[in-house]
Structure formats: structure tokens, C-alpha cells
Amino acid sequence: MWQTFIIQPMVNLLLWIYDILGHGPHMFGIAIILFTIIIRLVTWPLNASQVKGAQAMQELQNDKEWQDIQKKHAKDREKLAQEQMRIYKERGINPFASCLPTLIQFPIIIGLYQSISRAMAATPLDMLNLARTLYPFQNIENIIPLNSTFLWMHLGRPEGIPLPFEVSFLPNGFPLLAIIVALTTYVQTKLTMPATPPNPSDQAAAQTAAMSSSMSVYMPLMLGWFALTFASGISVYFITSNLLGIIQYAATGRANWNNLLPGGNKKNATKK
């Protein structure tokens, strides 16, 4: 089922784009970028719903009534939860609106990753599986093998710009793409981070902020490590996806650009 409904359509879409681009040098990289844009467009409503939900929750942290109930019921968790639910209901806020779309998108992200990996067909078995994955309309003899060259990269291998000297922990050279992946992930995560809650007694908000703060550190490190280790085609996907995410969030006009600067988070919160 996973193969039939997620992987197969995605691989075919990716390779169909590659085919109509003319399968020359650099075209597979461009195909990955276009493919990511298409998937982002398809999942735009989900992302928009996530952004909207996150914004509503963020606004709530600065709401007077919300802050008052935090203070009033600070020692009675049950009552606090009841009051919170009342406010959610009154204002039509779904507390899960920001995380549900993420959960729904998770299989899509995994599918994207697997589709790109599968399309690269690094071994004979991968190639055989790829051949079986393609729909009959695909121009399979011409598509295979993919021309994996993109800019200075081979999309089937980890990226690295050769250095004039050897560095033992950088066997592939200077990891420019991994750094860009980590940076764009950091920017995306930081932009969507809520401001530090002005009320220190709002424990839930403080915990959420702490969690977001952790994400902004660990997520770039994890994706950077992926970019360092795995085929650079995946990095092209990560960068495109991150940039589109940043654009989408910026388009809402609610991006916290101050968060990108040291201490910007607190400054942002104080302003409010």
C-alpha cells in the first residue's frame, strides 16, 4: 500500500519531470526542485492550516484573559485545563491545528525522501526495483540511468567541494551543501518560533518555547548530518523545501525575523 499509493506515484512524477526536461546534465537536480515545489503546492493547505494554528496559539499566549487564568489557577492544574478548553472553544481554536498537519505531512516527507533515494538507483537491485516502479507510459529505456550531475555535485553521492589538503573528518571535502541545509533549517525553525511568553507563570507556554528552542538546535544538526552523510539529491530537496517553507511563512507576514538574531526572541517578546 505504501509502495502503491505513496512511493510509486512520487517516483513516477519525479522521473516524468526529469524526462520532459530532456534528461541532460543538471536536469535531475532541477527535476528534484520542481518536484519539491509541486509537492509543497499540493500540501499548501496543510501547511497553511499549520501556520494558522500556530499563530492562533501564539496570539493566545499574549492574551490578557489567557494570562489571567494562568495566574489564577497556577496551583490547580485540572481547573486550568478546563478554563483553557473553554477559551479554545469560545474562540474556535483547535490546539492540535498546528501539529495535526505536521503528522499528516510526515508520511509525505518520508515518501519524498524514499522516492528520491529510489530514483537514484545506486545498486543493481535498486535499479531492478526502480524499473518495476515505473508506470508503462514512462520512457524507461531513455530515462535510465539518470544523469545525476547537478552543478558541482553528483546527486547520488554526498556533496563536498575538494580541498587542497586532506581533512580526516571531511572525506568528501568542504560540505557546503550540508551547511546550507543546516542554515536554512535553522532559519525556518527560528522564524516559526513563538516569542518568549511575557508571563513566567505560563508554564505550558514556557515549555512550548523551550521545545521550539531545542528544535531550532537539534533539527538543523540532524538535517545537516543527513546532508553530510547521504546522497546530495536529498540535500537539494531539503534546501528547496526549507526555502519554500520560509517563503510561505514570510508570506503570512508573521515571521519573527528578530528571532534570527541573538537575543532577538526576548526583544520581540518585550515589544509585545
Partner: protein, 358 residues
Amino acid sequence: MNRKKIFVILLLAFAALTLSACSGQPLTNTWPGLAADAERAYLATGSFIYAVDLKTGDQVWQYPSEADNSLLFFATPVLTEDGQLLVGSVGTTHSFISLDPASGAEKWAQPFSGAKGTWVAPPLVMNGTIYAPNTDGFLYFLDMNGKQTANPLELGGSLWSAPVTDGELLYIASLDHHLHILDLDGNPIGEPIDLGGASPSSPTVGEGGVYAGSFNATVGFVSSNGEFQTAAEASNWLWGSPAFDNGVLYFADLNGNIYSVDAATGSQNWGELKPDGPIVASPLVAGDQVYFGSENGTFIALDRDGGIVWEKAMGGSLYTPPVLSGDTILVAPYQAEFALAAYDASGKQAWTFTPVKE
């Protein structure tokens, strides 16, 4: 570290695990490589290379002693006249190593690790030179101590199959649809020849040239002066190398059709013959019989008229070409109950070998 942080780390670790290993299989996986001399079979099957005693089916040695993700072996090992067993890795370090066939000990001071890509193809060894094709599209030239003797030659595409030689020229097929002809010093002779499709297996030396199958479902004959002509056609991709014996070509396609074609006239010797599922592995010609292994796991012995002499259901999939050592036919199924089996020409099983899981 508070609970939230631990939760975030666990969540990210889960995501990393899911993204990198959803299938539950190693990131790099394919079917095993198999070779044999008079005493032992050598099976390259993922984390280990196993040497197996041909008389008993017992393990003689394994390399390395412990699994190491930087070393993954699937390429067919190659035995040299000076007593080396050469094999390249598809692991992260792209090592190309030399082992002692008797003990499994490393023979070179250090492995050759100068290639950018992995080693799917076995090398060709001739006159003290190792011609090693890599997935980075380069052909590397090494001496018998693993030192580069010349700059690598860029052929293009990804090189998945060993070069072959008629003694004067080298022929090497690429996934970029081309066959390259080189002299023994590695100088290209003429322009690469377009085969019409990717060619994942080695060409087969015939009379005055080579036969090469490709994904465009044809066997092409390329003469030593680079002229191409279609020698035979199939109904689907040709993955394995054709076998050439006494003027007859034997090959099979991904639809499971098995062909016998008179190389001189191009005429089919058999009617339609499709005994089982898709066929990827190159056939083996030995004595009066021709052996084919199917993806459905059936090993088939045919006589020269296309009659089935015997067949064995092995389980798993038979992608690895069968290998002959003396009178023993070795078969290495992929994902079966055993990793290697030995048969005689009558189909009697001598032994099976299953690596001990540590």
C-alpha cells in the same frame, strides 16, 4: 536536561531512523557476488566475504571479522594468478581490497580508496595490471600492490560490469548506453558505441568482437573495429551477459524468455521457452547443459535443444550468475534460507552453506 528536551531528541532520533531505514534493510543492498577456485567458493554478501570449502560446504574464513558499515561487499570477487582475491566495497569508504584466498588476510599495505564512487563491478586483471571500473564512471589502473599506475580514465555513466578482453583490446560497457573499446594501455580506440540502452553486465567475447546485451532488449555485436550490428532481439530488458559457446548465444530477458541464437545467422534455435519468472542472472554453459536462474528462485538445467533436464526450487531470488568449479555448480540465492548451494550436473545437491549469525 528536562523531559521536553529528551522528548525532542527522541522525536528527532525517531525521524532520523525512519528516514534512513524505513524499509528495515541496509541502506545499500543488492545481490551477492560469487567466485570460486579449485578449493573454495568466495561469496561477497553484504557485510562479509565468506570463503567456503568446496568439498564440505564449511566456512573457511570470513572477512572482516566483525561487521563494519564502511565495508559492504556485493561485487564479484576476482582471483588473480599471483594468489590474490580482489574485491571492491560499496560501503562508505569505497575501499578496494586484496585478500589472501587461503586465509582471508589483507594482502596490501592499505586498500585502494582513491575512487569517488562505490565498487559494483569486479575488476579485470591482465599482465600485472588491475583494470577496475567504478560507479563514478572512471576506469582505474592499479598494479598488483594496489598502487595507481596511471590516471583514471573517465568513460562516463556508471560502470557496473567488469571489462573483458580478447587479448588485444579491452571492452567495457557503461550504464550510459555505451560500449568503450580501449587498448591494453587504457587508450580509447575510436568513439564509444551506442548500444541503445544501459548495459549493466559485461559483454561476452565472441569471434572478432563482443556481444553485449542492454535494456533496449537487443544483443548487439560490436566488432573489434567498433562496428555495431544487432545480433539478436528479446522481449524485455537483457540484464545478464549472454553466453557464447560453439557459435551459439544463450541469453534470457526480464520477461523470463530463454533464447538460443545461432550467432552467424541470427536464427533462433528454439521455439518459445519461458519456464519460470524473470531472469536477471547470466547463464552458465557447462558440458552439455546450459543453466539459468530465475527471479522466482528456480534453478533450471537445459540441454542444448532447450529441453529441461532438471530444475530446483531454491527459494529467494537467483540474480547472481551460477559459477562452475570442476564438476561443481555453485548457486547463490538472494534472501533464501541458505546463501550458497553446490550441485553436480545431474542436479544432486552436495551441500548448502548458511553463514552463522553472530
